[in-house]
């Protein structure tokens, strides 16, 4: 699954001056990868909760480190999301790379390298390998933000990098801890399955400390309140494509890591910290929503809505029911596409208008109807309107949470109400109303942009009505994880419409 990409990254290295060719090769590569992954995914056995498509080679035997890859339903869905988004990012930001600091070629090399690492991070079944991808991933995205963004891009890139490095190093401390403990109880290993048996021999204090190392790293990545402050700056300063990669794909690594490592390696510590984490998620949901309502900059707005959405995802993960767990994974997938849609359209709006302040737009509905409609649908998907994909996942998360933590679910519901506000206010300001001076001559979407946005919207609507193909893949894996935790789904106690 990985190899075509590595080769492709090398191909992109060869041609230098021919910018068009570079772009075409990059686009072609990502498309081939997407198709190849889809084909491979067809042969995935959804009923089986074991890891599939496994490959394993010894890498550093003296530390018990293997180059081991494999996917379960959750990882597969996230990989699918990443490989589908990658060509869209390239196509949507066809001219983004120009005027960057490092030239066109570098831009595409960075994206392809990043794609490789993202697939690696989702597919790694060796903790050390995961960590290597997790950290190495920072380098390309750092240069993407710092080299091709706008405004205070260098500062934003550094802030992002330092936050992530700090979290990563905390995780490293925990990994070393696990490594030594595994060595004291048999052979040193980084295999996730074997590590998840270690919790029986760890004292609860050790487990809690190691858990925190992992959790803080993932909470910074996700980002969860109060670790979120890097995100708005990075999202605002990055180009639209970069922001999609960052929020749509990379941040999922955080929530994915919570499922894969926090839950399965430290089940007892997860239980201990669940109340705290649920409170943090709720704060994220509401806090992100309030900030979004007050945001003046369109990209900051999207970033804040994401903080709110990640609150939902974390809530779903730690509520520990099958529904909430599959809801959370589906949420990650859907959030990827609705954020992509928002950023794509927002990016085009910003390029046309030369400004990212919401109040500079106005009356776009009349001047550029297609662009306005796309933004509208993307926005609605962000507020989880029934019939659009994110409704299903948000509903699952809430229902799943309600069966275990009713109060938390009720508070989270306020997030939906606020979502209506933070989406509809900018929609009303930017799309409807008087035409703001200076907007009269904006052009509507061209063919390339239409081709880009069409599949995204198609996916959003299709999954809104028919999510079951994905759920079929996710459900067994999610149920397996909940079982591993020693939870069983509580019987719904109130049947009134729930």
């Amino acid at each position: 699954m990985l190899l075509p990409l590595l080769g492709a990254a090398l191909i992109a290295l060869i041609p230098s001056a021919q910018e068009r060719l570079v772009k075409q090769v990059a686009l072609g590569t990502t498309l081939v990868v997407a198709v190849a992954t889809l084909v491979k995914a067809m042969s995935f056995d959804a009923e089986n909760t074991e890891l599939q498509f496994r490959q394993s080679y010894s890498w550093i035997p003296s530390f018990g480190i293997n180059w081991a890859l494999g996917v379960d339903g959750i990882a597969l869905v996230l990989i699918l999301m990443s490989v589908i988004l990658a060509p869209l990012v390239i196509l949507g930001g066809w001219n983004e790379s120009e005027g960057g600091r490092f030239g066109v070629k570098t831009f595409y090399i960075l994206i392809l390298v990043l794609e490789t690492m993202v697939i690696g991070v989702f597919a790694a079944t060796d903790l050390f390998l995961f960590y290597v991808f997790f950290e190495a991933m920072l380098v390309p995205i750092y240069f993407l933000i710092g080299g091709y963004g706008s405004g205070e891009r260098a500062a934003a890139a550094v802030k992002f990098l330092l936050y992530s490095l700090f979290g990563g190093l905390l995780m490293l401390a925990s990994i070393i801890g696990l490594f030594v403990i595994s060595g004291q109880n048999g052979e040193v290993t980084f295999d996730i399955t074997k590590l998840s048996e270690l919790h029986t021999v760890m004292s609860s204090t050790t487990q809690n400390i190691l858990f925190l190392g992992f959790f803080i790293a993932f909470a910074i990545k996700a980002p969860l309140w109060p670790f979120h402050t890097w995100l708005p700056d990075a999202a605002k300063s990055g180009s639209a494509g970069t922001s999609i990669l960052l929020l749509g794909i990379l941040d999922k690594v955080g929530t994915y890591g919570m499922i894969r490592f926090c839950l399965s390696i430290f089940p007892d510590a997860s239980k201990t910290f669940t109340p705290v984490i649920i409170v943090l998620s709720l704060i994220s949901i509401l806090y992100g929503a309030f900030l979004a309502i007050g945001a003046k900059d369109i990209k900051r707005l999207i970033a804040y809505t994401s903080i709110s959405h990640f609150g939902f995802i974390t809530l779903g993960i730690f509520a520990m029911t099958t529904q909430s767990q599959s809801g959370a994974t589906l949420y990650m997938f859907n959030h990827g596409f609705s954020t992509a849609a928002l950023f794509l359209v927002a990016g085009w709006m910003i390029i046309r208008r030369g400004s990212s302040t919401i109040s500079d737009f106005g009356g776009l509905q009349r001047i550029t109807p297609i662009m306005a409609w796309s933004f509208f649908i993307a926005g609605l998907s962000g507020l989880a309107l029934p019939g659009l994909s994110s409704f299903v996942s948000e509903f699952l998360v809430l229902v799943g949470t309600y069966t275990r933590y009713p109060l938390a679910a009720i508070i989270a519901t306020f997030g939906i109400v606020l979502a209506a506000l933070y989406i509809l206010i900018p929609v009303q300001r930017a799309l409807h109303g008087e035409t703001t001076p200076g907007n009269e001559n904006l052009k509507d979407l061209n063919l390339r942009e239409k081709v880009t946005i069409a599949p995204v919207i198609a996916i959003i609507i299709f999954l809104g009505f028919y999510p079951s193909p994905l759920l079929k893949v996710i459900n067994p894996a999610a149920a397996h994880i909940v079982q591993q935790q020693g939870y069983s789904d509580p019987a719904p106690t109130m049947n009134g419409g729930k």
């Binding site: 010894s58 890498w59 550093i60 035997p61 003296s62 530390f63 600091r101 490092f102 960590y131 290597v132 950290e135 190495a136 920072l138 380098v139 240069f143 710092g146 080299g147 891009r153 260098a154 890139a157 550094v158 990098l161 330092l162 490095l165 700090f166 190093l169 905390l170 490293l172 401390a173 070393i176 801890g177 490594f179 030594v180 060595g183």
Partner: protein
């Protein structure tokens, strides 16, 4: 078994003879050829001794074992790539004995005199370094220390430009070095008083025998440690490092920062693992405290540096703290990890200083970081190479630095030292900040137009940089063979 050391010292003597008799014109090239030849022969001689271990060499003063073999090998490899840097000899003073700014100096410069004493001096220092790692009695250790140090004091003062700073560095290094040697000898005397022996095995036997007064032992260990900690620039014995790193000619700094560190840590490993191991409960708290302070102090102070050589000096102080945690671990994985870390760090350091020596303006090297702004635009390859080495120092995965850090911290944690693990990881985070800052400066700031330029590297410097990059990458991506080799080979004969 003494062959490598003898070869290097013989090479040094031959170098002195060349200096005296060969015509000035051909000196530079013949010196370089001789030094390289000597080092390669020494390396070959060393490889031949593999497996023939003994603790009785040179009347029981020197021990050859796996750890010594690995350390000597590391020193020789680092020395080979570092000595290539000396080949750009317009970096050295034309008339080192003349007072800066004097007529004599101007004449020498006008005559385009190229001074080549630096080669035999380096060889002497390498000979001392090799001996330093295998010495197993305190007097031999002291002799090795001086053989290693004296040439370095001289070499620090050889810079062609900014000669006053260079001479100040040399003097400072010499004075502080002399102090620390005195401390060292003082400690040796106490250890002799305690154990009635100057050999490591004698001291170890006295500790386990345990009839003598422990106070003498503690004083002895403390003062000997001061002498060694000075050499590795651990806080609070670090104050010479920034000035000396900055003032010395960059090629000398590269050698000093890399090879000396390997030698000094090699000697520390041996003395703490072999001689003092029985007394671990007394020295471990002391060394732990020093390691913690060293890590944190080095990382914090490096943040405020504006000069690239000073920054690398403080970063080397922080790395000394990390390396100390391998000594404190006092287990097999600590030994393996320290040797790996030393090798990886030494190689990366030589590469980094080689690149520093390339950034020049009309009046010499530019080490002011602000003037490095925009280097990524002007010479992207140099900037990428330097960034890669910085990432290795910061311990980002896929570089040798990461593997090193991982193994040394896990060794520390294995010995039950959680404080080291947590502080080490946190100070790595701090350290990442200033490494990243340089990357930002090179890539995201616009260049200042003040005539700073990158000189076209000579073939020698090119080889140095390339070798350093390749080894750093290989040790990061496929460390398995080297790690296995070290863990099979590294042991101490007691």
């Amino acid at each position: 078994m003494l062959a490598p050391i003898l070869v290097v010292l013989a090479g040094a003597v031959a170098g002195v003879l060349i200096e005296a008799f060969a015509p000035r014109k051909s000196r530079a090239s013949s010196q370089l050829a001789l030094s390289l030849f000597t080092l390669v022969i020494a390396l070959a001689a060393l490889v031949r001794t593999r497996g023939t271990y003994s603790s009785k060499a040179a009347m029981n003063t020197v021990t050859f074992d796996g750890a010594g073999y690995l350390l000597q090998m590391a020193i020789l490899i680092i020395a080979i790539i570092a000595i290539l840097l000396l080949a750009d000899s317009d970096k050295f003073a034309a008339a080192p004995t003349a007072a800066p700014g004097s007529d004599e100096e101007r004449e020498a410069q006008a005559a385009n005199i190229r001074v080549t004493e630096v080669y035999p001096l380096t060889l002497f220092a390498i000979g001392g370094a090799l001996l330093f790692t295998v010495a197993t009695d305190l007097i031999t250790l002291f002799v090795a220390l001086e053989v290693l140090s004296l040439p370095l004091y001289l070499m620090a003062g050889l810079a062609r430009r900014r000669r006053l700073a260079s001479q100040e560095a040399a003097l400072k290094y010499f004075l502080l070095g002399a102090f620390s040697s005195a401390f060292f000898l003082f400690g040796v005397a106490y250890l002799y008083g305690y154990s009635n022996s100057i050999t490591y095995s004698g001291i170890a036997a006295a500790i386990t025998g345990g009839t003598a007064n422990d106070v003498f032992l503690l004083i002895g260990i403390s003062f000997v440690s001061v002498g060694l900690l000075f050499k590795v620039s651990a806080v609070p014995f670090h104050s010479w490092a920034p000035d000396v790193y900055q003032g010395s000619p960059t090629a000398v700094t590269a050698f000093m920062a890399a090879a000396t560190k390997v030698a000094a840590f090699g000697a520390m490993l041996r003395i703490f693992y072999v001689a003092f191991a029985g007394d671990v409960w007394q020295w471990r708290p002391m060394l732990t405290a020093i390691a913690l302070i060293t890590m944190v102090f080095g990382s914090l102070v490096a943040i405020s540096q504006r000069d690239v050589k000073r920054m690398l000096a403080y970063s080397s102080i922080a790395h000394a703290g990390f390396l100390l945690s391998g000594i404190i671990a006092l287990n097999k994985s600590g030994l393996d990890a320290t040797i790996f870390y030393l090798f990886a760090y030494g190689i990366a350091t030589v590469g980094a200083f080689a690149i520093v020596s390339l950034i020049n303006d009309a009046s010499g090297e530019v080490t002011d970081l602000n003037r490095w702004a925009g280097l990524g635009k002007r010479s992207p390859w140099i900037a990428i190479a330097f960034s890669f080495l910085l990432l290795a120092f910061a311990g980002i995965p896929l570089t040798s630095g990461f593997v090193g850090k991982f193994s040394i911290f896990s060794a520390a944690y294995e010995s039950g030292n959680t404080a080291i693990l947590i502080t080490g990881v946190l100070s790595s985070a701090i350290a990442a900040f200033f490494y990243i800052r340089v990357v930002v400066l090179m890539f995201f700031k616009d260049p200042v137009e003040d005539g700073t330029s990158v000189v076209i590297p000579s073939i020698y410097t090119r080889i140095t940089i390339l070798v350093s990059l390749v080894i750093t990458l290989i040790l990061g991506v496929f460390p398995a063979p080297v790690l296995d080799y070290i863990s099979q080979t590294a042991f101490f004969l007691r």
